[in-house]
């Protein structure tokens, strides 16, 4: 599943202001509200659901990457966004490293396949160290959108 299928440019945050886990999740969910992809009335519930999922085990998967996510009945299709923290945020990652790259995903409860395909795409692209480095050095959401488009265009599927 290509980035363009679940990430809207308006929801991308190139310079996250938040400095802790809770704050980053709030900021990114807020970005999805501002981009019109989720309803403002659902914002608190979604943030809580994502935090609950984090309690099961951090979604910080190492190499400075985290994929906070939840299922939520208020979305009809998978929605997501990308955020970058220049300083990095402590996310209790598997490797103990601070997280700079965030991919936040909210999926409808009955679509596990879409969630797997989004994870597959994130994995495929982030294994490319050049892509990761460019992403971390992106200064604005336009740069990020371009990088995601390039990644989308380079893949076969």
């Amino acid at each position: 599943m290509k980035f363009s299928e679940f990430v809207k440019p308006e929801a991308i945050r190139a310079e996250l202001a938040a400095t802790d886990k809770d704050g980053v999740i709030r900021e990114l969910v807020g970005a999805l509200v501002e981009s019109g992809q989720i309803n403002a009335a659902e914002q608190d519930g979604i943030v809580k659901a994502i935090m609950k999922r984090e309690e099961l085990g951090s979604t910080g998967i190492g190499r400075g990457i985290a994929v906070p996510h939840t299922k939520h009945p208020s979305v009809e299709e998978l929605v997501g966004t990308v955020g970058i923290s220049v300083e990095g945020v402590d996310f209790q990652s598997l490797d103990g490293e601070k997280v700079q790259l965030f991919f936040l995903l909210i999926s409808p409860p009955d679509r596990p396949g879409d969630h797997l395909r989004a994870l597959e795409n994130i994995s495929r692209q982030l294994r490319d160290e050049t892509f990761c480095r460019f992403l971390k050095n992106s200064k604005n959401s336009g740069d990020i959108t371009e990088l995601l488009e390039e990644a989308d265009n380079n893949q076969v599927a």
């Binding site: 609950k52 998967i61 797997l116 994995s123």
Partner: protein
């Protein structure tokens, strides 16, 4: 010394290998000295890397090859086969508890 072990397992949990199961596999694989790898018909992943495991996009019913190479290869493969074939035991319970809270 080569001690390559390879066994097959079918992904049995309904959600497939999403992030949490990938995390559990990587955590388990990390306890062994052996190199651990997972393969589907089209993809390969380092069994100790969550990032690579989620790249398999292994949905329920996918057949996985679990490979290990090293002094404890047999134990590593058996442990991972058990985790996957039992559908990540404890995980659904943890989720249910989480939803109630």
């Amino acid at each position: 010394m080569k001690n390559l072990i390879r066994k097959k397992v079918t992904v049995s949990n309904p959600q497939g290998i999403h992030l949490r199961p990938a995390y559990l596999i990587a955590e388990l694989a990390g306890k062994y000295q052996s190199d651990v790898n997972l393969e589907t018909a089209s993809e390969k992943a380092d069994g100790k890397s969550v990032l690579e495991i989620i790249g398999l996009a292994a949905s329920s019913g996918t057949e996985l090859d679990v490979l290990a190479d090293g002094p404890d290869a047999n134990d590593a493969v058996d442990a991972i086969i058990q985790l996957v074939s039992l559908g990540f035991p404890g995980e659904e319970a943890a989720k249910a508890e989480n939803n109630q809270a």
